[in-house]
């Protein structure tokens, strides 16, 4: 049996990688994948706690998160495809029209 703390640590590491990915990468697709990484880190934490506490709640929650993630991917990819058609780029630092 793997101790809970290891699983939480792994989740935290994956989440941190996702955050750094969002902050430092320019490519919208990679940023998107980093967000997925963060969501899955959260899923991992849910499952770990569910098994530790012998409760199904956490596992059920994971399904909701996956559903939301799927919907988000559908919309997000559509946006990125449109963006590429309009501006011929997927680098977010080249798209900064909306500023004060």
């Amino acid at each position: 049996m793997i101790p809970l703390s290891w699983l939480i640590a792994l989740s935290a590491v994956v989440f941190a990688i996702g955050v750094v990915g969002v902050l430092v990468r320019r490519n919208a697709l990679v940023i998107f994948m980093s967000i997925e990484l963060m969501l899955n880190a959260a899923n991992l934490a849910f499952v770990a706690f569910a098994s530790h506490l012998r409760s199904l709640d956490g596992q059920v929650f994971v399904f909701f998160v996956m559903t939301v993630a799927a919907a988000e991917v559908a919309i997000g990819l559509a946006i990125i495809v449109h963006l590429f058609r309009l501006r011929e780029t997927v680098f977010v630092d080249e798209i900064h029209l909306l500023k004060g």
Partner: protein
């Protein structure tokens, strides 16, 4: 029971206004004429029917209230839109609709060449609506609606020819001066609400003797404030300066609004409130003195004016002074009697003057008239009747009413007021005869141009003149003196004038005294007429030499005692200076500073905030991440 249908009397002119407004352009000139005159004539018919109904009731029941709807209800206070017909409002409603109908008919002829024909009748009908609301209202609030309505129409009609700067200025002056009076009216009404909790005539008059101490400060102040309102509307000292300038309006307007009806609203209001005024003897004295002073002052100014309409305007101010004099000495009935006869002969004088002006292609200066009698026979004959009536020649209407006022002033012990009134009567006879002689008699002083176009007015203008001439002669016979129990007019008004807890004091004169007073006023009137004939017809050099002998006095009168100039220097200019200060300092610096300050502050703040909105998604993500970390520290610390 058969309904008096009072609401329909003001509603008819209002309906004509709305129709004229909506479809007037499709009606054309003939349609507008029929609509405008028809509505007022039919209103006269309804008024006559209602008054006949009233006359058929026993004397104690002559008080018909017709409630239409509750206008507002605030706490204990409520005001209705409801109309009151009693002998007092009956007189007023007949005069307003009757003289109003005649002037409407006259105006169709007088204004026939004016491009704004339709607009003129729209205003005129609106005026009729407001005036009828004023006289038929059964509470001070609805009366005030009419009061303001006639003020608005007066403003619109004085400035009817708004292309002329003088007309626009005169309209503004009338409106602003009236506002001062209206402010007094409102304050007086507020005091009545505070004391009696109502503005309904019946309730106020029933409560007044119980809530006000007779002669106390409260009732004196309230009545003086209401009298301030009356001085504005009825052109008395100190607010009379607007009326002579109001002559810039078309002549039918001068006849209808500034002679026969609107300017008598102040007298009507005083007569309506006589129960309140009788509780405040000090206010009555003020009314009498102001009335007498105005009568004399305006009569003297009238001596030295050369514009035919201005003479009539000052004459109107002077005659209104007589009406207030009557109210002040407690003879409210005599005041209303003079309102009626004055409406007849002054409307006739203005319409006759309008006929002369029309015939002479808009000449108004009497120095350029003269010798018109054979050329304008109808105008001349009717004007002569009106002149005799206003001068107080026996058997004409003005004689009866003016003499009654003077007799009442004497009988109530106001000998000084009586003396002023007698001098005023002599001056009235003099300046009116002067007007008549300069216009119709003597050699012609017409310009060649005017001589060429000279013509008698069309029948639509002559017919009202003739009707008014008959009324100016015969209108006084409802008030023949020397009758037991008062004359017919006084008996008719008695249910109103003796209503309430306060019974007016009767001053009975012996027949001998009454005859003596009568003789004095007749002699004075004939003396004034004779003197004017002597000075302006038989011996024209006399007028010139008199003018040269008293050049200083003449200058004072010619410049109307410089009242306008004094008001300008003491009231208007300081007011303008204060307004300028408020504009430049208070408004531009303080108010604008506050408003703009709010704007500048927001602009500065948002200028700093917008530095955060870079447009780069990465930056936003960084802020979110930092925010999350900050929240972590906050909650998990």
């Amino acid at each position: 029971m058969h309904l008096p249908l009072l609401w329909i009397i003001p509603a008819l002119p209002l309906a004509a206004v709305l129709l004229n407004l909506l479809i007037g352009d499709r009606l054309g000139k003939a349609g507008t004429t029929v609509l405008a005159c028809g509505s007022v004539i039919v209103a006269f018919g309804f008024a006559l029917r209602a008054v006949l109904h009233l006359a058929g009731l026993p004397e104690s029941e002559r008080h018909v209230v017709e409630a239409c709807w509750t206008w507002m209800r605030v706490g204990d206070f409520s005001a209705d839109v409801s109309f009151l017909l009693d002998p007092l409002s009956a007189v007023m409603v007949l005069v307003v609709t009757g003289v109003g109908s005649l002037i409407h008919v006259y105006a169709t002829g007088y204004m026939s060449h004016d491009p704004s024909f339709r607009r003129f009748f729209l205003y005129l009908n609106l005026f009729m609506f407001a005036m009828l609301t004023l006289v038929l209202a059964d509470n001070y609030l609805l009366m005030f609606v009419g009061w303001e309505g006639v003020g608005l129409c007066s403003y619109l009609l004085i400035g009817f020819w708004y292309e002329r700067p003088s007309a626009a200025e005169a309209g503004k002056k009338a409106f602003i001066v009236n506002r001062i009076g209206d402010f007094g009216f409102m304050l007086g009404a507020f005091m009545l609400i505070a004391a009696t909790g109502s503005l309904n005539f019946d309730q106020v008059f029933a409560a007044a003797p119980h809530v006000f101490a007779a002669g106390g400060a409260a009732i004196t102040l309230a009545t003086l404030l209401m009298f301030l309102g009356a001085t504005g509307k009825s052109a008395q000292i100190p607010l009379f300066t607007w009326l002579p300038d109001a002559m810039e309006g078309p002549t039918p307007v001068s006849a209808l609004i500034h002679a026969a009806t609107m300017v008598t609203a102040g007298v009507y209001m005083l007569a309506r409130s006589h129960i309140l005024f009788q509780l405040a003897p000090a206010s009555m004295e003020v009314v009498a003195v102001i009335g007498a002073a105005t009568a004399l002052m305006a009569a003297t100014i009238g001596l030295a004016q050369n514009d035919i309409k201005r003479v009539l305007a000052y004459s109107t101010v002077s005659q209104l002074g007589y009406m207030f004099m009557a109210c002040g000495v407690g003879a409210f009935g005599a005041g209303i009697f003079h309102v009626m006869t004055h409406a007849f002969f002054k409307a006739l004088l203005f319409l006759g003057a309008g006929s002369v002006i029309h015939a002479l292609s808009d000449e108004q200066d009497m120095r350029n008239m003269g010798g018109l009698a054979p050329r304008l026979p109808w105008t001349h004959a009717t004007m002569a009747v009106a002149t005799l009536a206003i001068a107080g020649v026996p058997f004409f209407s003005g004689f009866f009413s003016k003499d009654e006022i003077l007799a009442d002033a004497w009988a109530s012990g106001h000998f000084g007021i009586w003396a002023v009134g007698i001098v005023g009567a002599a001056l009235t006879a003099f300046y009116m005869t002067r007007l008549y002689v300069l216009t119709f008699r003597g050699p012609s002083r017409l310009s060649h141009e005017a001589e060429h176009h000279l013509h008698e007015s069309p029948p639509s203008m002559i017919a009202p003149l003739v009707v008014l001439a008959v009324l100016s002669f015969a209108g006084g016979y409802v008030g023949i003196p020397f009758q037991e129990g008062g004359h017919a007019f006084a008996r008719w008004l008695r249910p109103v004038m003796e209503a309430g807890d306060v019974v007016p004091v009767h001053h009975e004169l012996s027949h001998g005294a009454e005859w003596a007073l009568l003789l004095v006023s007749v002699l004075v009137a004939l003396g004034g007429i004779g003197a004017a004939f002597q000075a302006y017809l038989q011996n024209p050099d006399l007028a010139t030499s008199l003018r040269e002998r008293f050049a200083g006095l003449y200058r004072v009168l010619e410049h109307k005692y410089w009242v306008d100039e004094i008001y300008d220097a003491w009231v208007v200019q300081p007011f303008m200076a204060a307004s300028q200060w408020l504009w430049r300092v208070w408004d531009t610096v303080v108010v604008d500073g506050l408003v703009n300050g709010v704007g500048y502050t927001l602009e500065l703040g948002s200028g700093m905030l917008k530095l955060f909105q870079t447009g780069f998604v990465g930056t936003y993500a960084l802020w979110i991440a930092l925010g999350v970390i900050a929240l972590f520290f906050h909650f998990l610390r």
